[in-house]
Amino acid sequence: MYPPEFKVLVPSSLEEALKLLKEHGDNAKILAGGHSLIPMMRLRLVKPEVVIYLGKVPGLRYIRENGSTIKIGAMTTHGEIESSSLLAEKNPLLQETASKIGDLQVRNMGTIGGSIAHADPAADYPAALTALEATVVLKSLDGEREVKVDEFIQGPYFTDARPDELLVEVRVPSLSGRFGTAYEKLYFRATDFAIVGVAAYVEVDGGAFSRVRVGLTGVGDKPVRARQVEEELVGREASEASIEKAADLASEGLEPPSDVRASSEYRKKMAEVLTKRALTRALSKAKGG
């Protein structure tokens, strides 16, 4: 299946990419690893006149720690995130999430910047990034700005990026202390998108939950935090019994879509079940050290 004709522009620097974006903005699509864009172009769901390919732009592929923040270049692949020892230690939630995306081949090509900018409502990263209160850095010729991921993603395939802005970096916290994280993904076939995905991040202090963050994907137009669950748990005894009670609140206020893979009711129920599993696993890691 060939996509319709398009013109490709291959900038060799970030500056050049931003110039091209300014010039072609509305009619252009940015191509990174291509694992969201190319399938959609082949199905002719997206028909850009111009494609700006970032593969020759240096300096967009890195994972580095900067104080309490870990900065990840937009062109970093899921596979590089999955195998990063820095992330395994200091942000295992992002690392585990990356390891559950697609399959080996997809993780070899797909990029974190591309995935977030594509804003598929069932994508994996947004659950973790919402729970982690992560931000993205958007750059244009006029300057740069940092936006929270849950404000950046505004709806299905719809983001806060202006046509002349490029997502260049993702920032997640470097975690320390008594914390635990887990990402639970429900899918029917490997390589599928999540039917529901739940990311949990907990901190434990003196036998009680001192911090709880729960991010959900696949349950609506955009990723959401299960704030009711978080509020219910903070200050409570760090135990499975507490989680058992609180997890049922995860579906409160949700209106998930119904489609061929799952009904809305099923997704709501699964949001509760996966929240319980994710929190339980995160807690056991927090207790384990």
Binding site: L31, G34, R42, G102, L104, N108, A190
Partner: protein
């Protein structure tokens, strides 16, 4: 495949050790470049929707689905297809594994399976567990459902490449 007036992009790609330079239309997929331009038809088009993995090749050391890349994205890259695995008439241990363990039935998914396993086994550098092999080939579908022998072939190959570590399966 090029419409009149369509843009052409010059690419230089090293495939199975040989360097090629061609002008390709932007929308040409890598798999069509490999099959139709280079004539290397060992790489298959299965689903054409990024699901089945029959089109898997190695690009710069990593398994990729060549139906989900434009040919121009491979400019400057080094590619290995299933035709490039055997050396001096001797099959690669993974190919030998498939032959010895009846790792294929119709054979359509085989090149993709082999190329994915090539990336995976080069990466783990030891004999993996059965579960690890099954996870590695998640992105490769066998319509004959012959997975048992495919996994067996992979483990056989791993033993050839890295030694038994206790051996057996």
């Amino acid at each position: 495949m090029s419409q009149q007036g369509e843009q052409l992009v010059k690419i230089t790609v090293k495939v199975n050790g040989r360097t090629y330079t061609h002008e390709v239309p932007p929308r040409m997929l890598l798999v069509h470049y490999i099959r139709d331009v280079l004539g290397l038809t060992g790489t298959h088009v299965g689903c054409d929707t990024s699901n089945c993995g029959a089109c898997t090749v190695i690009m710069n050391g990593k398994a990729v689905k060549s139906c989900t890349l434009f040919a121009f994205m491979a400019d400057g890259a080094e590619i290995i297809t299933v035709e490039g695995l055997a050396s001096n008439g001797k099959l690669h241990p993974i190919q030998e594994g498939f032959r010895e363990n009846h790792g294929l039935q119709c054979g359509f998914c085989t090149p993709g399976m082999i190329m994915t396993l090539y990336d995976f086994l080069n990466r783990v550098k030891r004999k993996p567990s059965e579960a690890e092999v099954r996870r590695a080939i998640e992105g490769n579908l066998c319509r004959c459902t012959g997975y048992v022998n495919i996994v067996r072939s992979a483990l056989w190959a791993a033993e050839r490449m890295y030694g038994g570590g206790g051996g057996g399966r």
